[in-house]
C-alpha cells in the first residue's frame, strides 16, 4: 500500500543522515511488491530514535562549551596568581583546578570505561575524588598558607 512519507516524519527532530544535505521531498513509500526487490540493496541505517526534548537537547553541547570556557579561565588565572596572589585567587584556583580535572577525568572515563554498572561505579568514584580534592584544597587555603604561597615557598628552595 503506497503512502506519502517524508523521511523527516519518521525521524525525530535533530536527525541528520550522514552526507544528506538537501531537504527531502515527499515521496511515495515503496509499494509492497517493490519492497521485496529492494531488500537486498544497500540500505543506510540511520539513528532516528526519539530526540531529547527541551533542556536536555543541548546539554552535551553546552557541557562542551563550558569545558572550553573553564580552560580559558584557568589559563588566565596563571598570570593573575603570579602577580596578585591572595585568598580570592587561592579559592578560585581551587575551584577551577578541581572542576577542570573533574571534567577532564570524566572524558577519560567516557573513553575507556564501558558497561552501565562500570560507568556508574567509576563516575561515583570520580565524584568522591573531586569532592575530597576540593575540600582538601579549601582546607589548605583556610588553615594553611594557601595555594599561591605554597607554590612560591616550594619554588624558593
Amino acid at each position: 500500500m503506497a503512502a506519502i512519507v517524508r523521511l523527516s516524519s519518521m525521524c525525530r527532530r535533530g536527525v541528520k543522515p550522514l552526507f544528506y544535505q538537501s531537504p527531502l521531498l515527499s515521496r511515495p513509500v515503496a509499494a509492497l511488491q517493490r519492497d521485496h526487490e529492494q531488500q537486498h540493496l544497500p540500505t543506510a541505517r540511520i539513528h532516528s530514535s526519539q530526540a531529547l526534548h527541551g533542556s536536555d537537547a543541548k546539554a552535551a553541547s553546552r557541557h562542551w562549551t563550558a569545558e572550553r570556557v573553564l580552560s580559558v579561565v584557568l589559563l588566565a588565572m596563571g598570570p593573575v596568581a603570579y602577580f596578585s596572589p591572595g585568598p580570592v585567587v587561592d579559592y578560585s584556583l581551587a575551584a577551577a583546578l578541581t572542576l577542570h580535572g573533574h571534567w577532564g577525568l570524566g572524558q577519560v572515563l567516557t573513553d575507556y570505561v564501558h558497561g552501565e554498572t562500570k560507568v556508574k561505579i567509576a563516575s561515583a568514584g570520580l565524584f568522591v575524588l573531586s569532592t575530597v580534592t576540593f575540600a582538601g584544597l579549601c582546607y589548605f587555603n583556610y588553615n594553611d598558607v594557601g595555594i599561591c604561597k605554597a607554590v612560591a615557598l616550594l619554588w624558593s628552595k
Partner: protein, 165 residues
C-alpha cells in the same frame, strides 16, 4: 521498530549512488548501539583487535596521549596534595622543612622541579593548541606537526626557565 525502506534523495549524487539507495531508521540511539556492542562482545569474551600495538605511532598521536597522561598526572598530584592536607598532621612549612633537611642536592632538586614544571608546561601549551582546534584553526596536517613541535619546544624552554628561576 519501524522498518520503512524508501529511496533516498542521495541518488542524485552520483558517487553516493553506489553507497546506498535507501535509508532505514534504526529506532535506537547511538549510545544504545554502543552499549549493545560492548555488552555482546564482553559477554562472548572476545579479544579486542590489536590497535595501538600495531599501528605506526606518529608525533600527533604521541602528543595527544601525552596531553592526556600529563592531565591525569597533574590531577592526581593535586588530589594527592589535597588528601595529604586533610590527613597529615602538621602544616605545610613543617613538611617543606622536612624536605629541606633531607639535603638532597641541587641536581635532584632541579630534576624534581623539572618533573613538576614539564607536565604543567606541556599540558598548558598543548591545551592552547587544543583550544585553537576548537575554534577551527590548525587542522591541516603540516600545521598539526608545526604547532606540535612549537608546543614541545616551548614546553622544554619554559620548564628549564622555571627550574632555574
Amino acid at each position: 521498530m519501524s522498518t520503512f525502506i524508501q529511496k533516498c534523495d542521495l541518488l542524485k549524487f552520483p558517487h553516493y549512488n553506489a553507497l546506498c539507495r535507501h535509508v532505514a531508521p534504526m529506532g535506537s540511539t547511538a549510545k544504545e548501539e554502543m552499549d549493545k556492542f560492548w555488552s555482546k562482545n564482553t559477554r562472548l569474551n572476545r579479544p579486542v583487535s590489536p590497535h595501538v600495538t600495531i599501528y605506526k605511532w606518529s608525533v600527533p598521536m604521541m602528543m595527544s596521549i601525552t596531553h592526556r597522561g600529563t592531565g591525569i598526572a597533574l590531577s592526581g598530584a593535586i588530589s594527592a596534595f589535597a588528601v595529604a592536607a586533610l590527613v597529615l598532621p602538621g602544616n605545610y612549612s613543617y613538611y617543606l622543612d622536612l624536605i629541606h633537611s633531607l639535603s638532597v642536592g641541587p641536581y635532584l632538586i632541579g630534576l624534581a622541579k623539572f618533573g613538576i614544571a614539564f607536565p604543567l608546561s606541556y599540558h598548558t601549551y598543548n591545551g592552547i593548541r587544543h583550544l585553537c582546534w576548537d575554534i577551527g584553526k590548525g587542522f591541516k596536517i603540516p600545521d598539526v606537526y608545526r604547532t606540535g613541535y612549537i608546543v614541545l619546544g616551548l614546553s622544554i624552554i619554559t620548564s628549564l626557565a622555571l627550574v632555574v628561576m
